[in-house]
Symmetry: C2
Subunit: 337 residues, 2 copies
């Protein structure tokens, strides 16, 4: 069943059917009605691959994420999918699992399916895989790499203001010894966040202590491991910032398991504000990263690059806001234990 069949049934040519479907204004209303009726009756669906072949563009945006198991990403995907579909486009999702082989493969999938652009939320240190995308003139929007180029835009998370909010909050509670549990070492996003943390610390006149800065893995296990180390110091932090909520939740578990109470002995602040953070005990104070805004920023950036193939990429910005719940409180007066 193709447009020619519809054309025959409606007594017109396939060109007219095409025009009706694409909503061209050049067709007489009666003709439109007649064609529409036939389309309805036989439940005709145009074959997208023909259009893609003809145009060289598929109307699909690729989305590459590291770990769909981290609740932040499903929430993001949901928003991104909604925006994409609402704009009559399609989404092609790929997961890398933090694995560079899977990353290569994902990019290959994008290229083969002729996506109109790629939103890359899994920034690895290696830029090599991007090359193929750039070389094939596929618009690319990265997250928090702070680097733009021709056909390459970036959506940055405003770490500075977020960190400032978090640290100001802790300062009001008189915390002086503040730790940080980062993401995986070597990923640019996590490096950026560590740096932002150190600078923000200095801004509130606290001298950063290297031993208070630990690396995690963006998962609960990483938070558990890092927090266990932090709390076994004789001179331990009274507050800890985590690179994401999962890490923070792991940190909370570790602290509680070691007999510390939250927030009386240690305050903990997460990052993302996943749904779960409101459910754990105590509910987690966290820097909320607004998914919808973020998804919209990616989509807009992609559209812009697609429609302006020779334009320089743009640097976008999404702000976080501090959501104060119950995992933060006044610094302990004296050492307990």
């Amino acid at each position: 069943m193709d447009m020619r069949d519809i054309a025959k049934l409606a007594g017109v040519s396939s060109a007219t059917v095409s025009r009706v479907i694409s909503g061209s204004s050049l067709v007489r209303p009666e003709t439109v009605a007649r064609v529409r009726k036939v389309i309805e009756e036989v439940k005709f669906f145009p074959n997208n691959s023909a259009t893609t072949l003809k145009y060289g563009r598929s109307g699909t945006y690729g989305l590459i994420i590291p770990d769909i198991t981290n609740p932040f990403f499903p929430e993001f995907i949901k928003c991104f999918e909604a925006i994409v579909v609402e704009n009559d486009k399609e989404m092609l999702m790929a997961t890398t699992d933090f694995h560079s082989g899977r990353m290569q493969q994902s990019i290959r999938r994008m290229l083969i399916r002729k996506v109109d652009g790629v939103a890359l939320l899994a920034s690895e240190i290696e830029t090599e895989p991007f090359e193929d995308l750039i070389q094939n003139r596929v618009p690319l929007v990265t997250m928090d790499r702070g680097h733009t180029a021709n056909g390459l835009s970036d959506v940055a998370i405003n770490n500075k203001s977020g960190m400032d909010q978090a640290l100001r909050h802790l300062k009001e509670f008189r915390h002086k010894k503040i730790g940080y549990i980062g993401g995986s070492a070597g990923l640019t996003i996590s490096d950026h966040r560590v740096e932002a943390f150190i600078r923000a610390l200095k801004r509130i006149d606290i001298v950063p202590r290297p031993q208070f800065i630990k690396v995690g893995n963006y998962r609960i296990t990483g938070g558990v491991a890092a927090m266990t180390e932090l709390l076994s110091f004789e001179d331990r932090p009274t507050a800890v910032l985590a690179a994401n909520d999962l890490t923070a939740i792991g940190a909370m578990r570790a602290a509680m398991k070691m007999g510390f109470s939250i927030p009386d002995d240690v305050s903990i602040i997460g990052f993302d504000d996943i749904e779960m953070s409101d459910i754990v005990h105590p509910p987690l104070t966290t820097l909320r990263l607004p998914r919808f805004e973020l998804a919209k920023a990616f989509f807009d950036a992609l559209e812009h690059l697609k429609n302006n193939p020779h334009a320089q990429g743009e640097q976008h910005n999404v702000k976080t806001t501090l959501v104060v719940r119950e995992s933060t409180g006044p610094a302990p007066k004296r050492r307990s234990k």
Copy 2:
């Protein structure tokens, strides 16, 4: 850059290039090598839409899920994506958000993109949306609808054995008053599970009490609401089964908020075994639904239908296993109000 370009560079015809790419054995090894070299050099990616157009099949399987925010689904998607990609196919994911308009739209997306089959994990009561799929001879594999037909297979979750395990476990703890919090009313999956619950109850000689059977929404909120009702009865259940883990977690929260302790006052059993269930307090006893097996069952069923277009659909089965953690314990000896 297309196959003709490669052909020219390699001094062969485009047909030969095609043969090399598809791994035909008819090409002389030296020719293969020469063509491969050119492909490597210019980093050529075949245009999938041309193949799709030619074949009428896209090498893509659709996956329709209700709610990517429920942690079970990301875990499932991850497995399904891995299997699909490993088999050199593609996955097209769509979320319905339990909304029938989104369902229609998702199916439309599948049809337009010429998917080779659809895995439908969001079974609504209405069969109407499927019609388009069936009519267009798109293989369809549903979850737990227990109905097969031409080009329609089903993967059932063995509710019977799961329920039996759960109830036997509770019986050993001398529970007599057992409640159930289902999914959304009207969805066939949840109806099936309620029925399975009632039958399993009878099998251990407990007379089901209608007021102990509540409806939820597959989310935490539903569990909270239903559990609050269940526990406000004078004569309240001492154990509750939930339709999924999120519901069970909501139930736990409600119970704890009302001052009941788990499992001393009420035992709770979930369903799915999402990662979170091991993290909540107390860790949740639950019926584990193995994602990888489930994903594999869907994939195999799809492949089978695709390769045997005129075959009758098959009924597959996936078994659950009871994971005993700390949310279940002996029934309270006497009323603790």
